[in-house]
């Protein structure tokens, strides 16, 4: 469980994060989305007690992070996969963490295997690792203490498609077992498939947040394609749904997927495709929310600087 309330961070006069509030419940994966420099990393560092907030508070499992006696055993954190000493081997890096948080050394080997770093790679210096390998190492490090919460900053960065797929199933699995996951990305595609909820941040402020369905409820309708376009068109018309056909014989319908599905079922016509219109409905939303030039922030009142 992660609870962020009115979190703000200013560097001098420059606001980096402004009044960010969100909640990550156990059993869910929250995608923390925003373009580079939107304030994702600063927010995550504030959650982990590394950056003192200017205002607001953040708790993990109900308490400020620094109050957890041995945080490595409750919260798995990966803030920057590149921030590892290049002169240590992957195994040594994990062994140091294992020793610090007091977990059995044997877990190091197990986890390295589990994240796809075989013994040969584990014996190599981190300096020779690709970014993808460092991400895997960082994820292994985060999982070492068998935590209930994962906080991962851009963990998919540098992973190949197979690696992204692997990470998705890992996080899904983690959340399905009751864990809380907060993961950030500047690419919607990386987290779209795994996140239940999204927090979209732009220019240091929350631009939108909610469940995937909620965010997609934005108008756009659904796209439907049938085996027999003519029959499908008739079925939609019969159900009183406004539909527009495109060149390929698919229809864009201003209605819910359920309404369209029922209309087709009543007519007994076979559907080949039924989905949100616009391909990446979420992607369009993401772009529209984040690409707008950040509004010039108002001059801070005195008390906000406190």
């Amino acid at each position: 469980m992660i609870d962020v309330k009115g979190l703000s961070k200013r560097y001098g006069d420059v606001p980096a994060v402004e009044n960010v509030t969100f909640h990550c419940a156990p059993g869910t994966v929250t995608g923390f989305l925003g373009p580079n420099g939107a304030g994702k990393s600063t927010t995550m560092r504030m959650i982990c007690g590394l950056t003192p907030p200017t205002a607001g508070s953040a708790t993990v499992q109900g308490v400020p992070y620094a109050r957890i006696a041995n945080p490595g055993r409750h919260v798995g954190v990966l803030l920057d996969a590149a921030a590892q000493h290049p002169g240590r081997t992957g195994r040594e890096t994990l062994a140091l963490t294992a020793q610090t948080i007091g977990v059995d050394r044997r877990r190091v080997g197990e986890l390295m295997e589990a994240v796809g770093l075989p013994p040969k790679a584990a014996r190599r210096r981190v300096g020779g690792y690709s970014l993808g390998m460092r991400q895997r190492l960082g994820i292994a490090q985060a999982l070492l203490g068998d935590p209930g919460v994962l906080i991962l900053d851009e963990p998919a960065n540098g992973l190949d498609p197979e690696g992204i797929f692997w990470m998705r199933s890992l996080l899904r699995d983690f959340a399905d077992r009751g864990g809380t996951v907060l993961l950030s990305s500047h690419l919607l595609r990386e987290v779209e498939a795994v996140a239940d909820r999204f927090v979209v941040i732009a220019g240091g402020r929350i631009a939108a947040q909610g469940g995937k369905d909620e965010l997609l409820a934005a108008p756009g309708g659904v796209l439907v394609r049938g085996l027999d376009p003519a029959a499908l068109g008739a079925a939609l018309a019969a159900a009183g749904l406004a539909a527009t056909a495109d060149r390929t014989g698919a229809f864009t319908v201003r209605a819910s997927a359920e309404q369209v599905g029922r209309a087709a079922a009543r007519a007994g016509t076979v559907l080949l495709e039924l989905r949100q219109a616009g391909g990446g409905g979420l992607e369009e939303l993401f772009l529209s929310l984040t690409s707008a030039p950040a509004a010039p922030s108002p001059v801070a009142p005195e008390e906000a600087l406190r």
């Binding site: 560092r45 308490v63 400020p64 041995n70 490595g72 002169g87 963490t97 020793q99 610090t100």
Partner: protein
């Protein structure tokens, strides 16, 4: 700055589940820090270099110093050259490399009480100071024995325990100053250069400027620590050492801890 956070901190007690397992004990953290100082190539080579310099001073003593002056005492003194010169660099690196490699992200995420990491680092540095003092003594004994066999050394075999204690004290002091400088400057080249240059500059200044000569006797570590090398150390010598260390050790240590605990970790 963190008023809201601390206000909340004192409000509700931390659930027992989050206090178990307990925070890592300092002894364990010190072992981890000791391991970090020795598990990288740079760290390991520095340790080897210190030992090599210590050992290399033995032939220098055997062949360049008159036989009657080759006492075990003088051999030990020579065998601490590498330790005295280079061990503080290890102290500097123990702090600065964490910031330059950004491993502070991991270190302070796992141990939010940053002052505990400082204690662990200093403790680990002291362990190394002790180890290298032992290495120096063993090296000197071997060097003196070889001198005996070659018929070159005719000095005494005497080694008063308090002299060994004084060498250990100097090694501990210098490596702690290294850690303190590392924390104050948080930048490897800057901390190392200033660690060497500032005392030299101060010594030169003390010797050239008449008005500073009196003060230098109390503030120049090169002079106050030299007094420890004499067979008898007076009460005033200890007082001078104490005053000079307040300036060169305690001040940077306090400033360094304040900076380290406040600095934003990125």
């Amino acid at each position: 700055m963190t008023a809201d956070l601390t206000a909340e901190t004192t409000a509700a007690p931390t659930p027992a589940a989050l206090l178990d397992p307990p925070r890592p004990p300092i002894a364990r953290l010190a072992l981890v820090e000791l391991r970090k100082m020795t598990d990288t190539r740079a760290g390991r080579w520095l340790l080897v270099l210190i030992a090599l310099v210590d050992v290399a001073m033995m032939p220098v003593m055997l062949f360049a110093v008159p036989g009657e002056d080759q006492t075990l005492y003088d051999m030990v003194s020579a065998a601490t050259t590498g330790t005295a010169l280079l061990l503080p660099i290890l102290g500097v690196l123990a702090v600065t490399s964490e910031w330059s490699q950004r491993t502070t992200l991991t270190t302070f995420t796992l141990v939010p009480g940053r002052h505990r990491i400082v204690v662990a680092k200093v403790a680990a540095a002291w362990v190394l100071a002790t180890v290298f003092t032992a290495v120096s003594v063993v090296t000197a004994v071997l060097g003196r024995a070889v001198g005996e066999l070659l018929g070159r050394s005719s000095g005494s075999w005497e080694l008063p325990p308090e002299y060994v204690a004084k060498i250990l004290l100097m090694a501990v002091i210098s490596v702690t100053i290294g850690v303190a400088f590392g924390m104050v400057f948080m930048n490897t080249p800057l901390a190392i250069v200033l660690y060497f240059v500032l005392p030299i500059a101060w010594t030169t200044l003390g010797e050239t400027v008449d008005k500073l000569r009196g003060a230098a006797g109390w503030l120049d570590t090169n002079r106050t620590m030299e007094a420890l090398n004499q067979t008898s150390v007076s009460g005033e010598d200890w007082a001078r050492l104490g005053v000079s260390l307040a300036v060169w050790l305690v001040l940077p240590l306090v400033a360094g801890v304040i900076r380290l605990t406040r600095r934003e970790v990125k």
